[in-house]
Amino acid sequence: MGLKNNLHKLKEKYEGTKMAPAFNAIHTFLYMPNETTHSGGHIRMADDLKRTMNIVIMALVPCLIFGMFNAGYQHYLAIGEEVPFLSGAAFMIGVTKILPLVIVSYGVGLAIEFVFAMIKGHEVEEGYLVSGMLIPLIVPVDIPLWMLAVAVAFGVVIGKEVFGGTGMNILNPALTVRAFLFFAYPTWMSGDKVWVHGAVERANQLANGENVDAISGETILGNLAQNNAPGYDLADMFYGFIPGSVGETSTLLILLAGLFLIFTKIGSWRIMLSAVLGAIVMGLIFNGAVDAGWVSESSKFYGLMSTTFWHHLIIGGFAFGVVFMATDPVTASQTNRGKWIYGFLIGFISILIRVFNPAYPEGVMLAILLMNVFAPTIDHYVIQANVKRRMKRLKVKTA
């Protein structure tokens, strides 16, 4: 009784004042909202936005926990110590490195949401709950916290609030954060060292002539872009025992999460399926070009072009992007036919960027942001085509 009643009293007391949205937010966050939303971005979904958010969070938690184990595991691997994957030592490293990322992401993001809610005088929106969880999962484990904070502020303000908040944004806020980090601080976001905890530091020590045991944490995409062997076997890539951004390494867990999202009807299977199809088509085209002998082995694209088409699906952040980012109901296409086109192009362009621009190995991020921009256009033409079709039918009937 105590907390709920007190909160309610506080809410009544501050009603109509500037602080009202803040109390409202705490109240709805801890308890059920006592009224449903009537208008705005929510109109497209029949069910409560909070349910949508909660289910996505549930799907993300396994990735987060796996990421914590993997961060420690990769760290010990890199310094040449063998520890079992599911060990306390590995988990401890993961927790101490990744929990701060989560806290900063939520802290900064929610603070900005609160401020904007107060300025605009409306309720705090739930939209950030998922973004705040996605952001720590798509950054390298060693990213400095202040950089993350700056990027989150940029992503929330420029990616979302300037357009009017949750439901109005054109770009996926979490990917906006990642793109900002990627272009602003490239030394922390790309290359062969950043993906394993402590690798940058060890590289610096090596450069200074200190004697440390270190192997570089080159990612698979990095290796392929330099025409080297991927360096990891397929099972490792699939289960996720590879260096990479915090939560995107395990294709298995992402696949399960994807099925969970499809089963609960939160994520669109059309987008996921068509994105995979798009990637396969592009991969097959590249494989075909290699088989036909159009690309010589000395070509700088040979490594990535000759990668067997379905391997593209399990390396890099492709799976994570397709399951969690491309399906964002706000920024994706809304029409069913539009979703097919939107998803297909995401898969297609991801692999295209990945292969032809080794400087941007994470093509899926740029592909999704690009298609986010085009999603309304796709919808427009799908709807216009439908209108035209029905007009024709109308004419036939009246004639």
Binding site: P144, W146, M147, V150, I158, V162, F180, F183, A184, Y185, P186, T187, W188
Partner: protein, 215 residues
């Protein structure tokens, strides 16, 4: 303002804020994006536009009664082109390095919409003194935004101002860099210039609600 009448000073002050060519009329965006990665380039660009627009407005205003309306655009272009060539040559002679950074954008002052816009909208219909003030005012309004954008882009992008390392040395790790601060490479790319201009527009309009357009 003692020297200027109220009307005249309005000609200069209006474009600085409430009728700013960049943030309100959204003209001259291309150069605002292209050359504002450094404060120095912004300042030189401002001075160049100040010269071209100030003198150009006077010249066009003096000729306004003898220019046949049908070919007035061509005449205006000739005036701008002549002035821009003077600026370009002066820069090449006295500030060669800088003219290389500004490269094609000095020449592109010709296509800066603000200049043709002021010729068309003001100089063709007003006397030389008023046209001069209007030209100066608009060039300053343009320059203020350029300098603000250039200031933030250079400070956050390279950690310098006018080439001086104000935040410490990034290689020797002194000043802020000792604390782990790093330059934001995104600020040096053109998209951030657009976003910075966008933020200025946002701040300006939320301070002065009358500027918000109805739609």
């Amino acid at each position: 303002m003692g020297i200027l009448s109220k009307k005249d000073s309005k000609l200069i002050l209006d474009p600085l804020a409430d009728n700013n060519p960049i943030t309100i009329q959204v003209l001259g965006i291309c150069s605002a994006l292209a050359i504002t990665a450094e404060l120095k380039a912004s300042i030189v660009m401002t001075i160049s536009v100040l010269f071209v627009l100030g003198v150009g407005n006077v010249v066009v205003s003096l000729m306004r009664n003898i220019i046949p309306p049908k070919i007035r655009i061509i005449v205006q272009l000739v005036v701008v082109a002549a002035l821009v060539i003077i600026v370009d040559q002066v820069l090449k002679a006295f500030a060669y390095e800088l003219s290389k950074t500004l490269s094609v954008f000095v020449g592109l002052i010709i296509t800066n919409c603000i200049i043709m816009g002021r010729f068309e909208a003001f100089a063709l219909g007003n006397g030389p003194w008023k046209s001069f003030l209007d030209g100066i005012g608009n060039a300053l309004g343009y320059g203020v935004i350029l300098i603000i954008v250039g200031f933030f882009r250079e400070l956050l992008g390279s950690g310098t101002l006018l080439g001086i390392q104000v935040l410490g040395d990034p290689i020797a790790k002194t000043g802020l860099y000792a604390l782990g601060y790093e330059n934001n490479g995104f600020m040096l790319l053109s998209p951030m210039a657009l976003i910075t201009v966008g933020i200025i527009i946002w701040v300006q309009r939320s301070r002065n609600k009358t500027l918000i357009e109805e739609n």
